[in-house]
């Protein structure tokens, strides 16, 4: 009996052992195993030119070739030309690109046009659905699907974070004086009134050595800031029934006036600042607060400072002095992001899919988000929890916790049909705001432009797209 029991148990174990590789294999290994049959082929992937593309050029491309024998050709394209290149390839039917990096707000246009391959059948075939659940909800629920189908894997945890100088905020003299003046503690601002008061207070006390805050004021960031603040103050972009733009009401005016007034306690010339100007000011200790994407936090901590590719980043004078917090009002804009997709005209769809599954998988993506020279930000729950990542610099754990919270509360970028046109209208409007034009007149013009775009796209088409977008959990604060 004992022997028979032993045999039975052995048989069960043998069966379990036989089936174990399939059941336990993670998405990384599954993709590699399945891709080996395509060894010798070359797949091309469109990637944002510059730092971003160092990932496939230096790390993931060569790794994939080593593991599967598939060569990866990286097509570097500047961000503002990516949409055009993808559409040109699709319209010509050339099939020059196999895999794509797609900004999530483009997804409705690209998917409607048929330029993106629906990925659901591959996700099921290669058992990727479980690992998709590890992607933070803000990205998974908002940036992965269009019309109920998966068209891309969220692959970049873009979200706006508030960075502040702990040494200034924790200075006892500053704290006492601030509390005496405003009646509350000097701490990361909870709303924009506090932000303005703290910013002005620090400027008054420390300028020109240190200013209260500095922002990236040229395109594209200010329009993301406007989108966030406008919604957090209770604004809606459109009347959902008529699709008439409603950006030019009292809320829009309030946000515009506040944004303009804030320039006064920021360094002179802030209106001209781009991403690098703002980064340089913060890293050199000239500004006490800023809001930007996650790479600022890594570079401020000095992470990757020895990398050749990061030589353009000014040496951080504030390493160890930077705190991380939610943006005022607590619902930061997700701001751009990237999805990995497969081109509908690809001649190597399955190989391209397997490459993006491998890139996006838990194991590979964790390595990729830690590459100091690229700009991919953590986007999976397992990234936030990674002990290895949390030990990269003394405050890395606090940094990851803040990205996680910010991502969970993140507000989705407006994403309608021909979204670029609405974005351009917002960008132009904010540029006019810095030039001193009347805020109300600018907002009225912006609303007119929104209406003209909507009319051109087709009111009913756009109404349907807006309904889908507005129903997403990150569209409007609940």
């Amino acid at each position: 009996m004992k022997f028979r029991t032993f045999l039975g148990a052995a048989a069960v174990l043998a069966l379990a052992a036989g089936s174990a590789p399939a059941a336990d294999k993670d998405a990384t290994d599954t993709a590699v195993e399945a891709a080996k049959k395509y060894a010798g082929t070359t797949i091309s992937i469109v990637w944002e030119a510059g730092l971003q593309s160092l990932d496939p050029l230096n790390y993931s491309g060569p790794q994939w070739e080593k593991l599967t024998g598939i060569k990866v050709k990286v097509v570097e394209v500047p961000t503002d030309q990516m949409f055009t290149k993808i559409m040109q390839d699709f319209k010509s039917g050339a099939g020059a690109y196999d895999a794509l990096n797609v900004i999530p707000s483009w997804m409705p246009d690209l998917a409607r046009a048929g330029a993106l391959e629906p990925l659901d059948k591959y996700v099921d075939k290669f058992g990727y659905r479980d690992e998709l659940q590890d992607i933070a909800a803000a990205y998974r629920d908002n940036q992965m699907q269009y019309d109920g189908k998966i068209y891309g894997f969220p692959d970049d945890g873009d979200v706006m974070l508030l960075y502040y100088r702990k040494d200034i905020f924790e200075d006892p003299k500053m704290k006492d004086e601030f509390k005496a003046k405003f009646g509350y503690e000097l701490a990361p601002p909870k709303d924009w009134k506090q932000f303005d008061e703290i910013g002005q207070f620090i400027t008054d006390k420390m300028a020109p050595k240190v200013y209260g805050a500095g922002f990236f004021r040229t395109a594209p960031y200010p329009q993301y800031m406007f989108q966030e603040r406008f919604r957090m103050e209770g604004g809606k972009f459109f009347n959902a029934d008529t699709m008439k733009a409603t950006v030019n009401g009292d809320v829009g005016l309030k946000v515009f006036k506040q944004m303009l007034a804030e320039n006064k306690f920021m360094p002179p010339g802030v209106e001209q600042w781009n991403f690098v100007d703002n980064l340089a000011a913060f890293l050199q200790g000239t500004t006490a607060m800023t809001i930007s994407w996650p790479p600022y936090g890594r570079w401020a901590a000095g992470y990757g400072s020895g990398e050749d590719a990061l030589k353009w980043v000014p040496k951080s004078q504030v390493a160890g002095k930077v705190g991380y917090a939610l943006t005022p009002l607590g619902r930061p804009e997700l701001g751009v992001g990237f999805d990995l997709s497969v081109s509908a005209t690809s001649k190597n769809k399955e190989a391209a899919y397997l490459f993006i599954q491998w890139l996006n998988s838990k194991k590979t993506s964790l390595e990729r988000v830690q590459l100091p020279y690229t700009l991919r930000d953590p986007f999976r729950l397992s990234h936030y929890a990674s002990e290895k990542y949390r030990a990269l610099w003394p405050d890395a754990a606090a940094y990851l916790d803040n990205i996680k919270t910010s991502g969970e509360k993140g507000l989705l970028d407006l994403s309608l049909l021909q979204q670029d046109k609405y974005d351009e209208a917002m960008t132009k409007a904010i540029s006019s705001l810095w030039a001193g034009e009347d805020p109300k007149a600018i907002l009225d013009r912006m609303a007119q432009q929104f209406d003209a775009i909507t009319e051109k796209v087709g009111i009913e088409n756009q109404k349907a797209a807006y309904k889908v977008w507005a129903a997403k959990p990150g569209a409007y604060p609940q």
Partner: protein
């Protein structure tokens, strides 16, 4: 040899009918491949663009149906288009005379032999060999409110910090563009005018001097008429360049603040590559071609160069 024999020999040497036809058409046959290539490269895209301008092609839709003159009708309702044409006209109207004037003054300065003249001329021409996008980016740094030397010089002169937002403030943004444009292209005018001035008849100048004619009189009566054809060609070349101005403005202001410095080339680019309105962009291009053709013809006619 008798006369009849000579005539027979000449008759025999005369090419056949086919030979004559070949001889007549040989020049055309020789240039035909070049013409064909030129037509393919130049005319085909033009015709294709014309067809596209009557369609409804955008990068975001699959509809390619013909819409007749709809895109052209849209041009007349597009206030941003007309504003961008206005901005182009402003820049051209200010920068062109300034470039001509600065170029002429520089040429006057260098018309006489002087030590190191060739080195100075070579140095003065340097801005024209720089790519306009690099010139724009360089001037953007020059105008930078924190690090730019222009602000520092102005602050030094004023004795207090002068913080002018050259590329943001509506008062200064056009001067910034025109300074950059004039800096880069006056040397082009200078070079052409220097060559023209060098060829003015010296005997006439000497005679005028002996007669006691003033400098302005000499300039008006002898120099300007002599160099007028060169001035006309230089203005035409630079005028057309200014109508197409893109790079410097893109690097300096990107058409901002708002759309305040958006020229027709910038607007066309935005429509085509940022707004993805392929057919409408083609219609804008044809509007620009029509306007430029009209303008060029009028100028050439006016200057009697059309002949």
């Amino acid at each position: 040899m008798t006369l009849s024999a000579s005539l027979n020999a000449a008759e025999q040497r005369r090419p056949s009918r086919f030979g004559r036809m070949l001889e007549d058409r040989l020049p055309y046959l020789i240039v035909a491949p070049a013409i064909l290539i030129l037509l393919l490269v130049g005319l085909f895209p033009l015709i294709y663009s014309l067809i596209v301008s009557f369609q409804r092609i955008t990068m975001t839709e699959n509809d390619t149906s013909f819409v007749g003159l709809l895109n052209y009708a849209e041009l007349f309702r597009d206030t941003r288009l007309w504003a961008s044409l206005g901005h182009t006209a402003i820049i051209t109207a200010i920068a062109l005379p300034l470039e001509l004037l600065v170029g002429f003054l520089m040429a006057q300065l260098f018309i006489d032999r002087m030590p190191g003249r060739q080195i100075f001329v070579a140095l003065l021409v340097l801005p024209t060999v720089i790519s306009p996008i690099v010139a724009g980016a360089t001037w953007r740094l020059m105008f930078d409110v924190r690090f730019g030397p222009i602000g520092q010089i102005l602050s030094f002169i004023a004795g207090e910090p002068v913080r002018i937002l050259w590329t943001v403030n509506p008062t200064y943004v056009y001067p910034a563009i025109i300074i950059c444009e004039v800096w880069q292209w006056s040397p082009f005018m200078f070079l052409l005018l220097l060559a023209a001035l060098s060829n003015v008849d010296q005997s006439q100048l000497e005679a005028a001097e002996i007669d006691g004619a003033s400098y302005l009189r000499v300039l008006r009566a002898i120099v300007l008429p002599a160099i007028a054809p060169v001035i006309a060609v230089a203005c035409l070349i630079r005028g057309l360049d200014l109508v197409r101005i893109f790079d410097i403005i893109w690097a300096l202001t990107e058409g901002g603040p708002g759309s305040m410095t958006e020229t027709i080339s910038l607007y066309t680019y935005v429509q085509g590559f940022s707004q993805f309105e392929t057919s409408y962009t083609a219609a804008i291009s044809f509007l620009v071609i029509a306007l430029l053709t009209l303008l060029t013809t009028l100028v050439l006619k006016r200057m009697e160069l059309a002949r």
